[in-house]
Amino acid sequence: MYNKSLLSILIGLFLVAFALKKRTPEPTSYIPTPFYRLPVFPTKNDTVALGRLLFYDNILSANNQVSCASCHNSYNAFAHTDHQLSHGIFDSVGTRNAPGLFNLAWQKEFMWDGATHHIEAQALAPLHDPKEMGSNIKALLSKLRASDFYRKAFYDTYKDTIINSNRTLKALAAFELSLVSFESKYDAVKTDNAEFSTQEKAGYKLFKQNCNKCHTEPLFTNGKYMDNNLPIDSSLDDKGRFLVTKQKEDRYKFKVPSLRNLSYTYPYMHDGRFTTLNQVLQHYSSNQNIKNKGKADLEKAIHLSFNERADLISFLLTLNDKNFVFNPAYSFPKKLKDYLIQE
């Protein structure tokens, strides 16, 4: 008797858990489990919605002119395509390109060198950087507390008007974690909803032979720091991962970026040195700049004929996710637009 009711409770719990799970964007079989729990599908007034307001609001910067979206544009898969950006770090100042923001829940560390270990801490970096937003969390909180709009927005989310760093940073993180991009043609092929063309198929084969080791599918990154033999730009001399770990073997290593949404995220590489995929493949074909022969991540050039390059690029283009880029749930929030207009 007792056992039976226990069993039904367990089954009940299981069903509840299942129902809750259902509400998250369905992680299909070929996609690994994320590091972070994905937020439930954005509702009107949850932390994702609040984070979205913050992400698009210039209030985050000291002069009220820069928002996260200034450098991370939804139509560029949240990258920045106009120019390369500098990032002021203690003694060493490097120029870094703003990466696209998607599938962040699957990332263990952030930034090209992994300087940020947790998504909630990430926003502090641009917020405090004198070259990015030039503000700080204290100043931001007092601005938010003084704003009727945000007092209401926090109330809508939390049912009280307490505005603190924890809530602010968690909301930004929630919005960022909601940026999930698995609706490319590649994904449709994986789930048997589409087929590759002959050329794409040939490109996929070349990809698996030459690139998958580092740009591992289905995320198209292995999440590691590696050196793909880019010539050192002596004017920047950005030592990458070394700046964080101070280990000699990490010099000039950068986080392997995802290859999803490449059509939207140009220019490429940590310093945005290439603007086209052709230039990228040209780089991989050149034999120079192998810094630690015998211990290099990429020991030799990846030679590809003209046709092979065309095939490979046609495959890479199947990784573009138009639905992601034009998803209205990720664009400038109407609520904020309306508020700014009536201001």
Partner: protein, 218 residues
């Protein structure tokens, strides 16, 4: 034991007047440090985290502080209100006081904390994530830096530069004064070279190890 008091010891001979930091674990009492500054050397800011404060007897934990993390702050002669509390301290006659100087790496590897761990406290690095475990700033004639300023921001929670230190001190009797000897700390470091440390690394770890050796029970 009636009190467990944290003192900050400052000797005359390097120009600091003796000052005390009372950090009473027994009662909700105050913590303050009037650091008087002479013409050559001064400490303008000293803040550090203390985590997981507890007392052990044998292998047993017989007392624990109420909160996991405390930010000890001696900023600008201000009367700080750090309060470490925990019931039952008055009955303890002896044991091993253990605490972590800094934020333990497990906590540091998680997201943003609240209360003392709120990044608003200015003890969180922003360009690189992680807590600053120990922050000491001031002026010394030994520093070749601009305006003779020194800034030691010691932290780092990732291998191989984990910097938080576990400190273990024997306590006996009815009163235990835990002392951080800032004279020893400053006298035994090379401020000429290490006057500006702002990131995790070997130097930060060795200075944290040094800070650990500057705690003792009187």
């Amino acid at each position: 034991m009636q009190h467990l008091i944290f003192f900050l010891l400052v000797f005359m001979n390097i120009g600091f007047t003796s000052a005390q930091l009372k950090f009473s674990l027994a009662h909700d009492s105050l913590l303050y440090i009037p650091i008087r500054i002479n013409q050559e050397d001064s400490v303008s800011l000293l803040r550090f985290y203390i985590s997981n404060i507890h007392i052990e007897q044998g292998r047993k934990i017989i007392w624990e502080a109420h909160k996991k993390h405390y930010l000890i702050d001696f900023t600008q002669n201000r009367l700080a209100t750090n309060i470490v509390s925990g019931t039952g301290l008055e009955n303890i006659k002896k044991g091993r006081l253990k605490f972590t100087l800094g934020v333990d790496h497990k906590t540091a590897s998680q997201g943003i904390g609240e209360g003392p761990l709120d990044p608003i406290q200015g003890m969180y690095w922003t360009w690189q994530s992680g807590y600053i475990n120990f922050k000491l700033e001031g002026v010394s004639s030994k520093c070749p830096s601009r305006k003779n300023r020194f800034q030691l921001h010691l932290g780092g929670f990732q291998k191989p530069f984990r910097s938080a230190q576990i400190i273990e001190l024997q306590i006996t009797g009815t009163r235990a004064n835990v002392v951080f000897n800032i004279h020893k700390f400053l006298a035994e470091i090379n401020l000429r070279e290490a006057h500006s440390i702002m990131s995790p690394g070997e130097k930060a770890v060795s200075l944290m190890e040094h800070a650990k050796r500057c705690f003792y029970v009187q």
